[in-house]
Structure formats: structure tokens, C-alpha cells
Symmetry: C2
Subunit: 470 residues, 2 copies
């Protein structure tokens, strides 16, 4: 070994994950690189899962093969597609013999060096990714659940077997946010992330805002249009967004985030009245995945927020996604696009395959992915935000004073207040507070709910993106 | 050479640009890679230009060195800063001996493998980049003018000398749009690009929209705030945006775009009345850099456009930039952020250095950058858009009919029309047309200007983003 040369002005491949041939051949091959200008490398793909995303990936790989090869300088061959159902016609002309029901046909094929896992779900997908990485095959996946739950394990496995796992499609569909966090934005310390990362809930909230409709009726409309599933829990109760926040925050803050540590509230309690009240104050309601990088802990939460209607996130409508990032040097930036769908998601999957081709050396499975340094997570009780509160109260003298008294006692400072008299001797009181620690607000709300004059606390929605509006 | 191994499942470095040592040592070094898991590579940087952007780059490289090295797995050393003025205190503590007035101190130092050109301007910057690439040094630049004018030449030079030139900061400041176009979005054929790429003009138009102020007064305000230069021509007449569009379009459409082929109109003719009229029709005026990928030609133009106020680009305010991209698989997406400023621009420069570190093999200078395939550019006369026209006419019967007659004769179809009676026997007629070929509109406008009842054609502004609003 020639030690001195290490300090010289040159770079070398660090993780030659694709190397399964003996060193002698490699040296010959490496020599060839110097002799010729460009060496054509080979990417051989096995796709596991032939559903919506799988179909999109297969379409792009077959239809645009020549363009992809020209752009990457690599040959890119789709060799195998595995699915339990290989009889349904997906409307794509396929080379004969490409379909299989047996995952082993991919795992045991030494020529396949990129496994695309687009099955979704947890257990089978986990096994698939495990087998592929253990065999030293690179993995590209669109599976947020399996990455949120097992990302750290996979990253370690990839490192151990000197290969790479990429999962751009798992967050924000076609939006290349993970690649940006890993690469171009890596000269930044990410300070905050605010993401609209679930298309279903953004579609529902946008519709409610535009039509003045209520949650239940809008959900049915979303289901009829195919934007929401028959069992919508995963989306409307915010689970999907916590998976995505776990992945985003891991990369942004270079730590390992356990998705169970993320505070979560869905949108099922949001009413047309809340949206109308928000508009009156100049706000738009969005469900956000929030990550804040404090010096000694991370704040991680998924819940509805009233944001200023002039904020770029407020104009993200329909099923679109957007991730708003504040970086130490970059300042504020936002990436916007389609968060789901056959081709947008497939665009991200094939983009990852292309990134493997471009990088040539699989340098992705590095310490900064699901990094090993653990960070404490701020308890929701310690989080500080403003609140919008709507209470239904008896229409009687002194009610407002009782409520104001409870807020005062708990050191919750009121920024705006409005009382609207209703029918049946009841009134609605709407309050926006200054920033306050969550635990104080909860204590105040507990007391308010116990007041005899208060019929119910109808809405509690957090307000703003960290900075209070004057 | 072992031919069979080329088809095996492995990748190899293609462009070992940093290799200046004889092959024997390389083989030894390459062997080391297999023995050890990670080889530390060395990045040694020379910065040319110690102005605003240079200061930002130096700050990040010195202040965040440990983080950057940890993230990239490379040592990243700032070895030299070259500027004609090395006596002014920039307020950054510098290692002694790092400053120089002589560019040769960088070019002749074999240890320096990344040259950061942040001087700006054309001629000296061209010489600097030329020398660096010719010496096999990688170049990172923030210089849009030199890239728009000489990008193809530099790319060829880099290829010839097996090194890389990256220029993320040249378009959209901190927004990683070029990297996205090259990498993650490379599974797409880009169909259209609409960019707000000049912060000065976006600031002026936003201010005019929000304050109802006129161009001259707002320009003065922008100059006082440092958002516009004393000689604002480069920004307000759209030259800066054409440079950026030339670069964007080259990468997006994988061709070489000559910035002289881009149709250009600035914002100096936009009035408060135009902005008020736009608002009335639900539009916001922005100056856009537009690229449309037609099957047999590219449409490339920079000019003010009335866009739907609900479009994501309409909410890009102040000095922010945004690039809206429609891809064949991705669909609509947008990247938003600060287009200028010391640290946002430096974030992109250092991001490029990090991308060099991550990629390890400089695979960037490939055929897809300023590609060699030439594409025809659509003449502005052939472009099809809707138009907003405002004419000042005599307040007399039959005027409207005369104008409508001219439009009809030239096959310009009117979508909306409004006449407002003014003072002094004059009236203002506002017209929005359906989509029409530019040459027909020009013919119609020529005739209209010649009508005795028309005092002047006060405004001609294109409307919409390709698709007509119903």
C-alpha cells in the first residue's frame, strides 16, 4: 500500500458494493477505466410488487429505457417482476418470462443488483428488503411504513453488506426532498421542517375550505374519487404522516427518529365552523408534519395547524404535497409536487435507480442516514404554540369573565377573543392565545371544561409556524 | 482485460478525474478500498473572489468544517482565497497565509482539486474556469453569465480533462434545481419550465401588487433596500433571467441553449394600472422564464405574464425565486427558496462541493449537460398565448367596433372586454384574447395603433401558462 497517495488530490470509490468478483479482475477493470473514457456499467433490476407503483416503474423502465441509458451511461435492464398475481393484464406489453410469483427468482439471481420493493405493507416488505440487502443487492423502495419502522436496521444492514438503500418515493411521492436533504442541502443545519405530506388529508381540508363542507361529507367525496381508502384511518388519523415525518426528520436532523415518539392528531375533529373561523382570522387549516431542531431535543408532531393564508404552504391545494424547510444557510425553501399516484411515485423510484447509476459507488448508506446519534424528543407538554379555542357556553352574564379568569390563572395570555350569541341560550366564544406551553393550555382547558357555564370545548387547534403573528 | 466481468453486477468509477498519480499506485489504492470499509478522500478548495458569495462560502467552509467532513466522509480543506483586495477586513478570522492576490497560487497548487469561482462577471471568470479545468481541477461556480455564455465550452473542457464543473448557485440561489434536473428528475422528460428566477424583479412586482405603487417609485425603494443595483438594467430588462433560462433549459431539455435565442422583455413598462386590471381578472403579474418542450422545437422566452392568482407561482413574493417544472411522470412540481444573498448562494456552492464529495467519481460532466444535440428554437412569432391589451381611445361611438373589427380580421378571438370612460373625452378599453399566434396579434396591434380613434396601445401583457382558463 502506498500511504502517501492517500493525501493526494484524488477521490476513490469507497463502497464498491457491486463488486462480487475477485480483486484481480477488478484491477484489470479499473485499469480499463483509465484507458477508455467511460465504462458502461450494468444495472439489472428486479421489481417486487406489480400494483399501482410497480406498474408505473415497469412502464418507465420499459418505455424510456433508451433515454435512461443515454442519460446515465449505464445499461438499465428490467429482468424480473414478482407478484402473487401474474395473470391480470396490466395493459403493458412485457418481455416473455419476466413475470414470476417467486421472490427467490430475484434474490437468487446474481445478475440482479437493484431490487425495487413496491409491495407496500410491513412484514413481507421487510423480509424482501432484508433478503436483498443481505445478498448485497441495492434496494429502492417506496414503502414509508417499513422505512419508518425499520430504516435504521436496513441502513446498518446495507452498510454491513456494502450496498445501498434509497427510498425517495416514501416521502412526498415525486418530490426529491430526501435526495436534496442528503446532498445539495447538506451544507445546512436544518432548523425546521413543516410538511404537507399526506395527499388524502390535504385534499379533504382543501375541499372543506373551498366548499364550506363538513368532514364526513368531504371524506365520502374523497373516497368516491379514489383519494381516500375505504378504511381511511391510516390517513385521516395521521399515521401515514408520522411515518413520513420519522423518515424526513431522520435525514434532516441526522438522527434516528422512532415514529412512536411523534405526537399525532388527525383531522377527524375539524369542522366547517373551524375552517370558517380560521378564514376570518386570515388563516388556512392544514395538517402538518412538524420537526423543530432545538439545541437539546427535537420537537416532532403531526396535527392540524392554522397557518397564515399568505404562507406558501397555504396555497398547496388538492392532493399536492409540499415540504417547507428552513436551513441555517439556505433560509426558507419549499419543495412542492404530487405526493402520490402511479407515475409521480414511479418517477421517484426510477430517479433513485438513476441516482445509483450516477453515483456509481453506492455512497448513500452512510452514517448520516438514520444516524446512530440519538436525540431526545421534546414531550408535547413542553411544546410552545399559540392556540385557537372555540367553546360553546351558556349565553349568560359573567361567562366570559370565568373563562378569562381560568386562562389568567394558568398563565395563558389571550391575543384575540370573539363571542357570538347563538340560539337556545347558548353562545360561541372563539379565542386565539399568545404562545404558551402545551401543559399550561391543557390545564386551563381541563378547568374550563369543568366550568358549569361551559357546555363544551368544541375546538382546540394549534396556530402558526413557530413565530407569532403580530 | 477480463471482458466477461464487464457484464457482471458491479459498478466502476468512470471518470477518475482526480487521478494525477501513475496507475500502479491507483491499483494499490483501489485494493485498499476492498480491505478497508471507507477511504477518506481529500477535498482541497481554492476560492477565487472574496465578495458577498465568497464570504458566505468561506464562512461555511471554516465554521462548519467538522460537520461537512462528518457528513461527506471526506476531509474538506480551504487552502486559498484569492481576491485583488485582501486588506479589507471581512470580519472572518482566517488562517494565516490563506489570502492571495495571485490566481496562480491556486492554479499551480497540485493539492487544490476544487476551484470555487465566485468573482462574477465574464472575462476574468472565464479565464479562471478555463485554467482550472485545463489543470484537471473541478470547478464550482455561482456565475450565471459565464455559464450561460460558455457552459458548453466548459463542459467539453471538463470532459476532456476528466473533471467536473458544477454551478447550482447560478440559478435560483440556494434552490437545488439543477441537481434535481440532473439526478432525481432524470426519469422524466421535462415538458415545461416556468421560473421566477430574478429576485429583484419579483420584489418590484410584489411590492407594486401589494402597495399599488408604480414601477419607477418601487425601483427606487428596491434600490434603497439593496434589492436592486444602481444600474438596474441587467435585472429589470430581463438579461439576468435569460442567462438563467439558458442554463435551466440546457439541463432540462438536454440540449445547448444559446441565450441570444431567448425572447426577452423586461418589466419597465408594467404600470400600477396593469396590476390593478390583472387583479380584477383574478391574475397576478410575474416576470417568468419560460421553456416549453415541443416535439420539433423549444419555446424559450422571458417576459411578464398574468398568471392565475391561485397558481403556486403567484404566491412567490418578495425576492424569493421558484421554478415550476412539469415532468412526464412527475407531473407538476415546484422548488421555492431564496434566489440570492450571501448565505443562500453559498449554501448552493458548498452543496456542490459536498456533491463532489458524495459522488466521489466526477460523473457530472456528462453528455446530458449542455448536450451536444442542438434543438431548434421557436420564433416568438410562432408562440401561442393569450394576451391582455389595454388601449386608450377616443370616447366616441363606433370605437369598440373598429377595434373588434381589426381583431376579427386578424383571427384574434376576444375572450373578455371592458370599456371604462375616462376624463378628457378618452376611454380605456381592456381586452383579454383567446390563445393566438404572436404574429397575428402583432399584425392586429399594428393596425390598431394606426386607427385614428386609438390614442395609444398602453399595455400588451401575455396571459396564462399555456392552458387557457375557462
Amino acid at each position: 500500500m502506498h500511504k502517501g497517495s492517500r493525501k493526494g488530490p484524488f477521490f476513490l470509490s469507497r463502497n464498491p458494493a457491486f463488486l462480487t468478483i475477485p480483486p484481480t479482475q477488478v484491477i484489470l477493470e479499473t485499469n480499463t477505466v483509465f484507458a477508455k473514457e467511460v465504462v458502461m456499467s450494468n444495472i439489472v433490476v428486479g421489481v417486487i410488487g406489480f400494483g399501482t407503483v410497480g406498474k408505473g416503474v415497469v412502464k418507465i423502465l420499459l418505455h424510456d429505457r433508451a433515454i435512461l441509458e443515454q442519460r446515465s451511461g449505464c445499461s438499465i435492464e428490467l429482468k424480473k417482476i414478482v407478484d402473487l398475481d401474474i395473470t391480470t393484464d396490466r395493459g403493458i406489453p412485457l418481455p416473455s418470462g419476466i413475470l414470476s410469483t417467486d421472490m427467490a427468482d430475484v434474490m437468487n439471481d446474481p445478475a440482479i443488483n437493484v431490487v425495487v420493493e413496491v409491495m407496500g405493507g410491513e412484514n413481507a416488505a421487510k423480509k424482501c428488503i432484508e433478503s436483498a440487502l443481505s445478498a448485497g443487492k441495492n434496494v429502492v423502495t417506496s414503502n414509508k411504513e417499513v422505512m419508518a419502522k425499520h430504516g435504521l436496521y436496513f441502513t446498518r444492514l446495507a452498510k454491513e453488506h456494502q450496498c445501498t438503500i434509497l427510498y425517495e418515493a416514501a416521502v412526498g411521492g415525486g418530490i426529491p426532498v430526501l435526495h436534496a436533504l442528503r446532498n445539495s442541502l447538506s451544507a445546512n443545519t436544518v432548523e425546521t421542517i413543516y410538511g404537507i405530506v399526506n395527499g388524502t388529508t390535504n385534499f379533504i381540508l382543501s375541499k372543506m375550505t373551498e366548499d364550506g363542507s363538513d368532514f364526513d361529507e368531504t371524506l365520502k367525496e374523497a373516497q368516491a374519487l379514489g383519494y381516500a381508502e375505504a378504511n381511511p384511518k391510516n390517513d385521516v388519523e395521521g399515521y401515514d404522516a408520522t411515518y413520513k415525518l420519522a423518515i424526513l426528520a431522520s435525514l434532516a436532523f441526522r438522527t434516528h427518529v422512532n415514529y412512536n415518539d411523534i405526537y399525532r392528531e388527525g383531522i377527524t375533529a375539524i369542522t366547517a365552523a373551524d375552517i370558517a373561523a380560521a378564514r376570518q382570522f386570515g388563516y388556512t387549516i392544514k395538517i402538518l408534519a412538524i420537526g423543530v431542531n432545538h439545541p437539546d431535543s427535537l420537537e416532532l408532531r403531526v396535527h392540524p395547524v392554522m397557518i397564515d393564508s399568505s404562507h406558501p404552504l397555504a396555497s398547496v391545494r388538492d392532493a399536492f404535497n409540499a415540504i417547507f424547510i428552513k436551513g441555517s444557510s439556505l433560509g426558507e425553501s419549499m419543495l412542492y409536487g404530487r405526493g402520490a399516484g402511479e407515475l409521480p411515485t414511479a418517477s421517484a423510484v426510477v430517479g433513485d435507480i438513476m441516482n445509483l447509476a450516477f453515483t456509481n459507488t453506492p455512497g448513500f448508506a452512510r452514517d448520516t442516514d438514520f444516524a446512530l446519534n440519538e436525540r431526545a424528543v421534546t414531550s408535547i407538554n413542553e411544546c410552545v404554540t399559540s392556540f385557537f379555542i372555540r367553546c360553546i357556553v351558556d349565553d349568560a352574564p359573567g361567562v366570559l369573565a370565568s373563562i378569562a379568569n381560568v386562562f389568567g390563572k394558568n398563565e395563558v395570555s389571550i391575543r384575540a377573543l370573539e363571542q357570538i350569541d347563538g340560539r337556545d341560550k347558548s353562545a360561541s366564544i372563539t379565542i386565539i392565545t399568545h404562545q404558551v406551553k402545551e401543559e399550561r393550555m391543557r390545564a386551563a382547558l381541563n378547568e374550563i371544561e369543568g366550568l358549569p357555564c361551559v357546555q363544551k370545548v368544541a375546538s382546540v387547534i394549534r396556530v402558526g409556524l413557530g413565530e407569532e403573528r403580530i
